[in-house]
């Protein structure tokens, strides 16, 4: 399964980069989100995957009695998801404002904004 996931992460990265290279601002943000998802999965996979053993200490035990999923990548990814939401929501609103002012979401046309046209 790890190999399938590794390929999938590769696909996510490729799709993310491809979207970032497009001219539309919306696609740029979609690209960043996909790239972010790919990165989260990457961290997750590199922490090694474990099925059906969440890092929660069961019942009345004080420490784990048997194998458990690595909690550190999970903590990292949780943080990453939340932070990227902050970024995304700000970017989405920014597009909206930019579109209102310049009437385009084309990055190339935004280049010329500081020249009087």
């Amino acid at each position: 399964m790890e190999i399938v996931l590794a390929v999938m992460i590769g696909v996510l990265y490729a799709a993310g980069i491809y979207m970032i290279l497009r001219r539309s601002l919306v696609k740029l943000i979609l690209g960043i989100i996909i790239l972010g998802n790919g990165a989260n999965l990457l961290i997750f996979l590199l922490g090694r995957i474990t099925k059906g053993r969440p890092p929660i200490i069961p019942g009345d035990l004080k420490v784990f009695a048997e194998a458990y999923a690595d909690p550190i990548p999970q903590a990292l990814i949780l943080t990453a998801i939340v932070i990227s939401f902050g970024l995304q929501s700000f970017a989405i609103i920014l597009i909206k404002r930019a579109y209102k002012v310049v009437k385009t979401d084309d990055l190339d046309e935004m280049n010329a904004i500081d020249q009087d046209s």
Partner: protein, 767 residues
Amino acid sequence: MLIAILVGFIFSMFLVVAGKFFRGKPAILSALIPLGLFAYFAQFIGQVSEGGVIIQSYNWVPSFGVNLGFTLDGLSLLFSLMITGIGFLVFVYTSSYLKEHQYLDRFYGYLSMFMAAMLGLVLSDNMISLFIFWELTSISSFFLIGFNNSSEASRKSAITALAVTGLGGMSLLAGALVLGSVGGSYSIVELLNSSGEIAASPFYIIIVILMFGAAFTKSAQFPFHFWLPGAMKAPTPVSTYLHSATMVKAGIYLLMRFTPVLGSTEFWNSTLLIVGAVTMVYAAIHTLFRRDLKGILAYSTIAALGILVFLIGQGTEAALLAAALFIAVHALYKATLFLVTGIIDHQTHTRDVTILRGLRKVMLPVAIAGFLAAISSAGIPPTLGFLGKELTYESTLAVIGTPLLWITLILITKIFLLHAGFVAGISPFVGKLPEKFSNTKKPGILLWLPPVILSVMGLSLGIFPGLIEPIIYPVVTAMGEDVGNEHLALWHGFNTVLWLSIATIVVGTVLYFVLKPSQRLEASAARVEFLSPKSIFSGLWHYFNKFSSLWTAFFQNGYLRNYVSTIILFLIGLSGYALYKTASFSLDLSTLSRITGYEMAVVVIMFLAILFTVFTRSRLAAVASMGVVGLAICLLFVFYSAPDLAMTQFSIDTLTVILFVLVLYRLPIYLKLSDYRTRIKDGVLSLGFGTIITILILEVLATPVDKTISQYYAENAYVLAHGKNVVNVILVDFRGSDTFMEISVLAIAAIGVFALLKLRLKETDQR
């Protein structure tokens, strides 16, 4: 001694805050600083003339072998006295010359910064601190040349000067580092002991070339001389102080300082002889073609610097003595001529020698100073200039090899310099006073006293040369030569040297009466200007600028996708190469988990959703399928024991999709599609990057993983933090402050979103 150097820096910093109380009358008080320093250094004359060397050392950056070591020997003392003595007169002169200037305080700030840096330069024993002071003099010179910053010519000259001397500074640093590593020390005194090893080292030539690079740029030797005439855009006190008496001699100082360490080799001597000779003759000829007084003086200064390099190149005891004396002679008469020129400019508002006449009637003391300086420059007895010239001829006659060639060159130079001195110091004052200058105001005492003091010193030291011996002789001792018991004297009897002197004076005087500066001469020089090093330099400069703007336009073209492409391409190349070199492909398949049907189904859905996001032409569809990708990842988190992640991913993904839809449903479908070629190109690039990532993951999976930290958290989650969900405990307890920061970041983002939503642009801003 450290305080003596720092006082100038402290004063200039003090002016930053207290400058406005310092304009106008109180400005003259600042002259007390150089005066005090002059007295401080003068008290060492006795000790140094008896062969004493004062050494003081303070640790600065001991780990790099950089300390503030200062040595006061004969060479340093001569320069220190010149810096503070002429500095004092220039400070006094400036208080009147720039009386009305609104930035007078700033000018004094730069001037005292320069003075401190220059003192540091000549007193430093450590090569690194010498370099730092060297650069500080270049920087203060930059500010002073560009002092009239509203004039474009000033700014340009300032940049040219900084570029040329700054280049030399780099050369000095490189030379010092190589020399330090070859000689095993950055202290010049300590290097003296290993001069034999240095000369035998294979790096010797490199060191010498680098040192020459520094000295020749600073001291305006051909072909780097052109910044100096440009530097005359500075106010005249600056030209006097920096660009004639002191700073331009820093290169000469460097050569003299390193003579005992690097000198007395064939390469050292002949390079200096040739460069010095070319410079002096080239610049001396140039003086004939100028009619701006400062232009004439600039070129005659270059010629004088050429003579000094030429003398150091001879390297004999007599030549070094001549050089030491000539430094003092030149500082005295050239500073006088510059100050005189400044007064003429200040009172008549012109510096054109073809119109200036008969000014003795309105400014007699200035005329006397000019006359005395001119005859000292001409080397007419009984001035100090005569002594300098005699010694120069004497040592040149003794050059081994082809003395006839060298004596001819120095003779030509001296004749032209005599002409230049007469033109600058005498011709504005003789003849009939033109009508338009008859109302010229008499200059104030603060203006005319400094040049008079300097020129009278030039005369009296010539009559009583014994007075300057205790200062000049230790200079030669500092360069590792012994002067012996000979005394300086005006009269040496009828010998070749005397006949040469007489020839110089006669021919030069005749030349003065025959050849008058004129517009025609200046124009004829302008015709060959395109061949001069200056034109070549500005050409290079021009093309360099062009090249860098092409370069910038290529890489910094303002298109985001080009930046991203460049970065990605570079990453692919770099990590691809590393993987190619080291990848083992040794993943053990038996350790991997099994593929199950429901996992495959999720992965296939995710794959299709990605494809749809990338290729759909509708924004909404793209956003929706992006949501599907997020949900698929959420399911993967569920499968692989990460319930917290799944919950977070689910809520955030949903929120993002809703937000997107709310904001974007009104936008049109994508209108512009990139052309086919761009898409193929980007596709290849992205797939390449994806492949690299996949290979990278497989490589990492093949290496064993270290779980120590995870174990720590797992074992202590309940014991220390009393929580059973380890992920939560990490976030809110072990790394609680990180989470707090994260919350702040989110709060800032939320404020940003709120502000953007509430922002109401004025109609005028909405283009």
